[in-house]
């Protein structure tokens, strides 16, 4: 068993402190703040799309309601739960590193990746279905006859739907790439109670992507849920 611990830092040994920091605490605080600064740019990135959504929903409320009812709330809700579970396993992976449970870090990382991948697979089938039903907002792909006078607004809804969920899915794919790195490092017991800040920062990214979806789900899937008699 002792060979398993070969790559873990011995108790009390800390990662190197770079010369421009006063001590390790200041260095780690800076690394964390750097991650938050990146997340602020992410808020701005998604924020522009959220603003576009708000403006167009305000301009075309009926069309958004009709178009939204073409999305399946059961599938969207199930996918929301999948993402929440992946956030839990991510948070627990960091806690496992904090408490030196190295095997747990590995399998919780794998679990997080599996749930993330599940989300993307479900999203793929949702996209395909929308494409087949002529709801993809391309120049020739969008057939909006079922929306009648609301076809224009519905087309904008689906443009925003694909842009926002697409950007979100892209972040998930990037996240899976980063998690692959985490997995390789975790298998070598790189993340220890003394050195887990990189894992914590990956966690911040993963939770942020989850945050975006927490808002996307009700905004996109549930607008028409209370209107009875809408054809699915």
């Amino acid at each position: 068993m002792s060979a398993d611990h070969a790559h873990a830092l011995p108790a009390g040994v800390r990662p190197p402190t770079y010369s421009h920091f006063e001590d390790l605490a200041q260095q780690e605080e800076s690394e964390k703040l750097g991650m938050w600064a990146f997340l602020i740019t992410e808020v701005m990135f998604f924020g522009a799309l959220f603003t576009a959504y708000t403006v167009y929903r305000n301009l075309y409320p009926e069309a958004f309601m009709l178009a939204s009812s073409h999305l399946n709330p059961t599938i969207g809700g199930a996918n929301t739960l999948v993402l929440i579970v992946s956030s839990l396993t991510m948070a627990l992976a960091i806690r496992a590193a904090q408490t030196a449970k190295y095997r747990q870090v590995v399998w919780l990382t794998v679990a997080t990746m599996i749930f993330g991948a599940t989300f993307l697979v479900v999203k793929y089938f949702e996209y395909m279905e929308k494409y087949d039903h002529g709801l993809f907002p391309g120049p020739t792909m969008f057939r909006g006859e079922q929306f009648g006078e609301h076809a224009g607004g519905a087309r904008i809804f689906f443009s925003i739907y694909f842009a926002m969920t697409g950007l979100h899915a892209f972040h998930m794919i990037v996240g899976l790439g980063i998690m692959t790195w985490v997995l390789i490092k975790a298998r070598k017991r790189y993340f220890t109670p003394e050195r887990y800040l990189a894992l914590e920062n990956v966690g911040l990214y993963w939770h942020f992507v989850d945050l975006v979806w927490i808002f996307l789900f009700p905004m996109l899937y549930l607008l028409g849920a209370h209107v009875h008699g809408i054809e699915h």
């Binding site: 703040l33 602020i40 709330p73 929440i84 849920a225």
Partner: protein
């Protein structure tokens, strides 16, 4: 080897290890929130549908930020960074919508 015992305090809570129950509690709240979102969306509340959906989403987001992202146990600087992003976002929505909403007045 006693150096492990004091570093939590030395890092100003940066290495705070939360009880595992907090993670499960937040997870349960997030699941309940998701179910509540779907249930309330099926009831016709008029203009209140939007408000209810956003309030639930904001509570869920706050739970993720405070506990999963450890902001509750982070330094004031992290608090400032985290709130700055969302404050900027609210400014953008508010200033854009004061134009769009008032155009028909």
């Amino acid at each position: 080897m006693a150096s492990n015992t004091d570093h939590g305090a030395a890092h100003g809570g940066g290495h705070h290890i939360l009880p595992i129950g907090i993670y499960w509690g937040v997870f349960t709240a997030l699941v309940v929130g998701t179910i509540l979102t779907v249930v309330t969306a099926r009831v016709d509340l008029g203009h209140m549908n939007v408000v209810v959906a956003l309030v639930i989403a904001c509570v869920k987001a706050l739970l993720v930020i405070l506990f999963f992202m450890h902001v509750k146990y982070s330094s004031k600087m992290v608090w400032l960074f985290a709130s700055a992003g969302f404050f900027w976002f609210l400014l953008m929505i508010a200033f854009t919508m004061q134009d769009f909403v008032s155009r028909s007045w």
